[in-house]
Amino acid sequence: MLSLLLLLPLLIVMILNLPLGRFRSLGFWVALVLSLVQAYTVLFAPAALSGNHDVLGRLFSLGLATDNLSRVLLLSISIVTFASLLVGRQTIREEKQRINFANLVLIAMTGMNGTVLLTDLFSLYVFLEVSAVASFILIAMKRDLNALEGAFKYIVLSAVATILMLSSLAVLLLISGSTSFAAVGSAIKAEGRSPLVVFAVAMFLCGLFIKGGLVPFHGWLPGAYSAAPPAVSILLAGIITKVSGIYALIRLATSVLGPSNSINALLMIVGTISILVGALAALGQTDLKRMLAYSSISQVGYIILGLGCGTDLGIAGAIFHLFNHSIFKSLLFVNSAAIEEQLGTTDMSQMGGLGSRMPVTNVTSLIAFLSTAGLPPLSGFWSKLMIVVALWQSSHGGYAVLAVLASVLTLAYLLTMQRRVFFGILTDRWANVQEAGFGITLPATVLALITVGVGVAFPLMFNSFLLPVASFLK
């Protein structure tokens, strides 16, 4: 089954594009079914993911592996892909572009599934590039100046990340003779604080900081998120950046580098700066998608801060916030897709009073923003609470206070957004605006239900699932 998660999307792309009549137009539905099957497998048939003993796995011996962390990510990938596909179906008008979109999403899915399942640093790099190349094209698909500029910035900074990671891999290969997580981890432990090892690890970390859009390497992110087509923004903000930068960072820190005070300190500094810079920049935005993009930088900062804390609770909180953020940020971008689709703009200064005309978008947006700001009992509250408690318990009270204060900033900019867009008096210009179609309201409702459901079910999950998530470290 594991190898199928990797091979199936790729095989489907190949088969659908054979010159066999109208098969290509089935791409969207096949991708949708595939995302649902992946979610079902993770939730209800996890035993199928516990080994690599199927026929394809034996035939290709792909060397894939899963643990609790990769299962969480596989679930996020399937949910966000599902939402993005439905929104794409609604918002991409041209049939040819819709087919290209579905094919590229399947390729991105191969890249993301591969990234979370493999156990080799070089293969990790290769599959990061699969997602990245698909992302460049998806961002540029609108083909207007902003989209091309956003894609270009992403390509340039991604190329810098590539150079850094490849150079680091070359050094690590020289030191360890292999690029498997285990071999590189052992070699790093054996070499200790050799300048060469420090240099290689620093380069790899910088590469992942760029991929994850962390401050000060975030230059590409606001442009790419805001210029991409709505369905692509959901995919990018919801999961691609999370897998490419943040998951890879968590995996590197835990499975390869192991506990390290200096790396933990670096992660906490980068995380805190990202939280503050992202939140402050979000406050000053008038474009809805740019504001959400800066909000993403801030929320990813929380994940890195929890990871840098280094304790089981901190890492479990980081992984929980990674999942929660992928859901509620996707929801906010689905809502921005609804607004962009119905109004033709994302400029918040032109909006107001839309709550009465778009009730589903209004309510789901409210749920997402309250969860982002960390208000109980929604999912975002619990993950932030876990991170703050972990920081306090590990004697990092200063970081804990900053994290709580930044939540107030989050509440401020998201409340401003909600007021500008949905509250107040409806202007004549938008008097005839209607709620977005089912292709947008369905994923919005599903994502909102997950946000509420995960929050309410938190006490049931804490000991049975969330804390053991960090158990892969032991």
């Binding site: 790729l10 293969s123 599959f127 699969v130 083909r143 020289l174």
Partner: protein
């Protein structure tokens, strides 16, 4: 042991890369990339890394250049005036690039930057076929996915654009 040949190849590599970036014509840029890649492959052969050289040749000089050329063939011509303006803009942005590369090279030589590491010799039976099909086939799968994404990029961004 670094020989004069290596230095000459390194110089040609840098010159090829700079030309690829500076030239204002896309087709020349693609050809420049192919030449740079070929020089890099020769350098890798010279430095006793035939596997890396084969990968470099197969991926960059072959497939990526083929995609580049097919993409460029779908674009339209620009006037000589436009080209002159673009070249001037690029020179404005990149004139420091060769100097930075030379300075970095000189700095590395002056501090006698030597990696005191002997990479473990690969097992004798690990020829290209075994490495490709038995050891790194997961990477090969990733490479296929990247090529597919590239092909969709050409279709989505250029072919259908031209059709419109």
């Amino acid at each position: 042991m670094i020989t004069t040949t290596h230095w000459v190849l390194l110089g040609a590599l840098v010159a090829g890369a700079v030309w690829t970036v500076l030239t204002a014509r896309l087709l020349r840029s693609a050809v420049g990339l192919a030449i740079t890649s070929a020089i890099l492959a020769i350098l890798m052969f010279q430095l006793a890394s035939p596997l890396a050289a084969v990968f470099e040749l197969s991926v960059c000089a072959g497939l990526i250049s083929a995609i580049f050329v097919s993409t460029i063939s779908m674009t339209h011509r620009v006037t000589a005036e436009d080209l002159a303006i673009r070249l001037k803009e690029r020179l404005h942005w990149f004139w420091l690039l060769p100097l930075i590369l030379l300075a970095a090279g000189a700095a590395l030589i002056s501090v006698h930057f030597v990696l005191d590491i002997r990479p473990p010799a690969p097992p004798a039976e690990n020829d290209v076929r075994i490495v490709l099909w038995k050891i790194r086939h997961l990477d090969l799968l990733g490479q296929i996915a990247i090529l597919l994404a590239g092909a969709f990029g050409v279709v989505a961004l250029f072919k259908e654009w031209k059709d419109e």
